[in-house]
Symmetry: C2
Subunit: 284 residues, 2 copies
């Protein structure tokens, strides 16, 4: 595996692989790799001649008061894990490589309206604009045939898919199922912020989703009742503060009245100071 920090270097490696007739898979991450990321890498490895992972804690997608400064960074550890999962090129640029004129002189943004105002977007203004912008940059740098994203960040998948379609980006977006701990907690780099009591309380997210799944399987179709039951369950956990519970259309992210077809059931909960998200896709 090659570790590169410069845009020109990753572009050169991709060009060479393409000249060899290899296809390119991209896994864009913020590092602090866990089994979820490694599953994305293994999925890409099975499909492509060249697997590129990016590690970039993108300042543009963090709001004031969010955890940009303290977000865990450990390139040596990440490099070992990525190589073990089949990564060929690890692109880990410094901020000045991605924003060479500085953040204040970055004038161009990719904005996706409407769907970015909902769910996580409501409490994280600017987040999806920063995410979409850096993903567009990475797509232009790596020119992947396929980009792999974790279904855990469901809204990210929806926004990236929409951006790629709206802007005719020549890339296929594949969502890979969420990887969970044995007790149900969805893997997230932010789980490491949790103390043992919070770690236990964090199970409220997957439990709420389990409750929704049980109701849907039982034929219950009233979305508001499902949201209410999930919210009540979260409220019953003293260490948890519910930010949102959504039972929405999986493309438009508009809240549903009744679940008559596919639905995205999603929630965001603060456990202490740590904001966690989780979701399930109901196929309908």
């Amino acid at each position: 595996m090659e570790i590169v920090g410069r845009v020109a270097d990753v572009e050169k490696l991709v060009r060479e692989a393409r000249a060899d007739g290899r296809t390119v898979g991209l896994v864009a991450t913020m590092g602090c790799l866990h089994e979820g990321h490694l599953t994305l890498l293994r999925t890409a490895r099975a499909a492509h001649g060249l697997v590129v992972a990016s590690i970039f804690v993108n300042p543009l997608q963090f709001g004031p008061g969010e955890d940009y400064a303290v977000y865990p960074r450990d390139l040596d550890r990440d490099a070992g894990l990525a190589a073990g999962a089949g990564c060929d090129v690890l692109f880990a640029p410094p901020v000045a490589e991605m924003y060479p004129q500085g953040l204040d002189s970055m004038l161009t943004y990719v904005t996706v309206r409407d769907i970015t105002d909902r769910l996580c977007g409501a409490s994280r203004p600017g987040h999806f604009r920063g995410m979409a912008t850096v993903v567009a940059k990475l797509f232009n740098i790596v020119a992947p045939d396929v980009a792999y994203f974790g279904q855990k960040d469901a809204q990210q998948v929806v926004v990236v898919r929409r951006m790629a379609a709206d802007l005719n980006m020549n890339v296929r977006i594949v969502a890979v199922p969420t990887v969970r701990e044995a007790d149900g907690l969805a893997l997230s780099s932010r789980n490491m912020y949790l103390n043992p009591a919070e770690r236990q309380a964090a199970l409220v997210l997957s439990r709420a989703l389990g409750l929704a799944a049980a109701r849907l399987k039982a034929g219950r179709r009233d979305a508001a009742a499902i949201r209410k039951a999930m919210g009540d369950l979260v409220v019953g956990e003293p260490l948890a503060a519910c930010e949102y519970v959504a039972v929405c259309d999986p493309v438009t992210l508009r809240e549903l009245d009744r679940v008559e077809g596919p639905a995205l059931v999603a929630l965001a909960v603060r456990i202490g100071k740590t904001r966690l998200i989780d979701n399930l896709l109901w196929e309908g």
Copy 2:
């Protein structure tokens, strides 16, 4: 020359040319081709194995009350002219091909801030967002090595260059000098809106630029004085209404106090109902 209306068809033609080792030049137009566009095509022809021209009157970059509905469209005439100038592929999509879900369901925009608020941007809110978005789409569809733009639309060149750099688009932007009538009028598809008296009055734009050039050549450096002299000249033309006169930095588009290096001298003038622009690049 092949005329195609579908994204998939132009992508296929480009892929085949690339497989042959040909490079790709793109000339993005709104049709109603004139000698300015044909110069762009001939410039591309001299440099590339595949020359693609797009003709698309992009509804996203017209404001309410602008000339979207009446903008001249004549594909047969344009096709003959493009073929004669060396175009290989003429991509002329219907609106529904570029915005398949409709304009209201187009959620993604490329926005370039700051430099799009200046000059033409001040009186055409949304114009540069619509232009940047459709140019990003065309870049993704055609994946050109080089895209050619007329220097007549100076701010468009600045915005597209900035977008390409900020988003790591893998394309070189080349500005081709403005083509003029013998009497100095810059070629524009909108010149055809002018009646004979207006056509004569329209010379005030190139005359104002000539006045600026003469002052700069004479060593005059006071930008405000140049703006004032140009504005006075425009005001002296009864059929003309001055929208702006700028003597600005050619990258940031910020107005200059003194012209100590390169400068963009630009103006927009209404002649009757027709809005015309022109500019000169002072190398400093």
